[in-house]
């Protein structure tokens, strides 16, 4: 590892804005695997700008390394712009779904506790099973998971992180600035 590297591992959220091309996800993950960074969660969706896709990637790493990774991501031909944020710079959520025997929900745990103490939503109730949803930070969905593990939890799934950034500067402004900072062909290049 380089000197000058702050040796503190933190949680970072990376936002990548890109063209929606096949294979880009593969190219992105190669950058992380080459540097032995584990992707904690990954969400891909369209962004607020038509035609531009957004990857939200949560990782734990050193800031110095994250900075290098961002530059390597931006080097990918199909990537317009990449950002990284510490957790205090974003508003983020994850969604978790839990499936339980209905008898447990109505019996031992108590639906009221779940709703009052955990703020869950009930998605489906059948005589056999009940599916509930909790949205929040991982610590919150995890806490509920730990509790339900003792109550014959049948299935559990948690989504990747989705995040909205606090800084007010808009992506389009970033992109305009970036576009202004570059040429697309060499002036002297006669062949173009």
């Amino acid at each position: 590892m380089n000197t000058g590297q702050k040796k503190e591992i933190k949680e970072y959220t990376i936002n990548v804005f890109s063209e929606n091309h096949i294979g880009l996800l593969n190219r992105l993950t190669i950058i992380f695997t080459r540097r032995k960074i584990n992707i904690e969660s990954l969400t891909v969706s369209e962004s607020h700008i038509p035609g531009i896709h957004c990857f939200t990637i949560a990782i734990n790493s050193y800031e110095n390394l994250v900075r290098k990774v961002i530059l390597q991501i931006e080097k990918l031909v199909d990537v317009l712009k990449a950002f990284y944020y510490t957790t205090d710079q974003i508003i983020y959520q994850e969604i978790a779904l839990y499936k339980l025997p209905t008898s447990e929900v109505t019996g031992y745990i108590g639906l009221e506790t779940l709703i009052r103490d955990f703020g869950i939503r009930v998605l489906e109730v059948t005589p056999e099973y009940t599916v509930i949803e909790k949205t929040g930070h991982k610590t919150e969905t995890q806490e509920l998971l730990e509790k339900l593990k003792n109550h014959r939890l049948l299935e559990f799934v948690r989504s990747g992180r989705v995040a909205i950034t606090k800084p007010m500067k808009e992506l389009t402004v970033h992109l305009e600035e970036k576009g202004m900072a570059f040429n697309y062909i060499m002036k002297e290049d006669e062949s173009y």
Partner: protein, 579 residues
Amino acid sequence: MFRENHENKKVATASKAGCTVTGSEALMLSLLEEGVDVIYGYPGGAIMPVYDALFDYRDRIRHILVRHEQGAAHAADGYARVTGKVGVCLVTSGPGATNLITGLANAMVDSVPLVCITGQVASPLLGSDAFQETDVVGISMPVTKWNAQITSAEDVPGIIAQAFYLAKTGRPGPVLVDITKDAQFGETTWSYRKCTRLRSYFPYPKVKLNEIQEAARLINQSRKPLILAGHGVLIAGAQNHLMELATRADIPVASTLLGLSAFPSGHRLYAGMLGMHGNYAPNVKTNECDVLIAVGLRFDDRITGRLESYARQAKIIHIDIDPAEINKNVPVTLSVVADAREALSTLLSYVKENRHTGWIDTFGSFRSEEEEKVIRPGREPAGGHIRMDEVVHQVSEKTKGQAVVVTDVGQHQMVAARYYRFNRPGSFVTSGGLGTMGFGLPASIGAKIGRPDREVVLFVGDGGFQMTIQELGTIAQSNVPVKIVLLNNQFLGMVRQWQDMFFRKRYSFTELQNPDFVTLANAYGIHGERCIKREDLAEKLDSLLASEECSFLEVMVEPEHNVFPMIPAGESVSNVRLE
């Protein structure tokens, strides 16, 4: 001459405008549009429609039939390095495509523009493990700048246009385009538009004046400046600007392996080559200078040695076109993210005349110590076997530093880099970042085809020669007059050197039992000679160089010679060992 040709081709493609053509013909027309006059390839099932179309275009696009697809990639690489144009390969799917991978990786790390076209099974068969189907787009991802798959004829012109644009602009690199067989057979209406812009691709950072002015200030104030010139100088065609900067501000210039020939070896300001087997002075002076001006290089570990003790005392100015290279390995004082030529030409508006005589004089003692301990004993040995050093030295003298020198990888590569004295830019073709044995022979083919007007001399080791030796067949069939100098030490010399120095001389599997190389060359129809005695060397080199055709000379050299100076891996550049 090339221009003229190109104009003719333009006419040919224009007359097809609006016509219905197959995907394969569209590919040929696209190549013509991009000014391609030669491709390196090898046919097979999944690329046969393209080869069939090529048959009609063989008078306008020269096809070099290699003997292995790796050879195609390296030949295209050698061609691209000496011409500055994009090298083009054409191969079949599956094994043809996978054979390209080493060549792609090599071009990727050395920033060489290639467009490699691979055939692919018909699109309905994709993903079904069809005969000779491999996921070449997936496999080649880490070793290409960009890649794409074409599954419909109408996409051929657009994707090919993008491929060329991406390969050659910005920091160049290899691009792979996979074309399914149905796209090759399919039909489309011909039209072509060059790609000049992609909204997500930012090839040329605009020079920021404040950065340049700050760089100029640091340079103008410096008392012990040192320029490091890398491959980026040659790629950008910035050697004249480099010369102007060096001479005006009186700054010594050191070169990376791939930067060799960007600055004339005989110039009073030339400090020599950097790195593990570089010259004594520039390595030591890296840790003494006050301002280090690094142009178009990426601070590879073979250059920096131990990072923690690399140029810590210096203010470092890093000029590079790739933002991801800044602070990647070496933390810098000031970065100028720009094309080397643009950056240097702007910088020249602010850099003042200067003299650093005292500082430059301090290089002298290091130079003479190296001369005395390493260079002269190698060039003029008292007796014994011929040394690689004297062979390269003589070739350098005989070609007056005007040849294109191509090397393979190993001791002979370092010796060639150290002792050939370059007088012309763009004269050294070698595998730098990947250190690919087997690169030399095919790369020399591409170099000679790219620059038929220049003498092309290949220095190759007995190990690496046998990795792509079958390309002698290509040379014979396509009549490529390269001059091959095989420096035969009967060892995997560079590995043996490490065993000698760092593994208690335990020569674990580095000795080679070789074939009769001269007979082998002859078998390919290539004239070959062997030189064993020192007194025959000059004459044999003369006749090699005088030959109009490809010619081969095997020189039996000292088997256990070690290349010095050497910075042992992971040590500081100050710890250069001269013996």
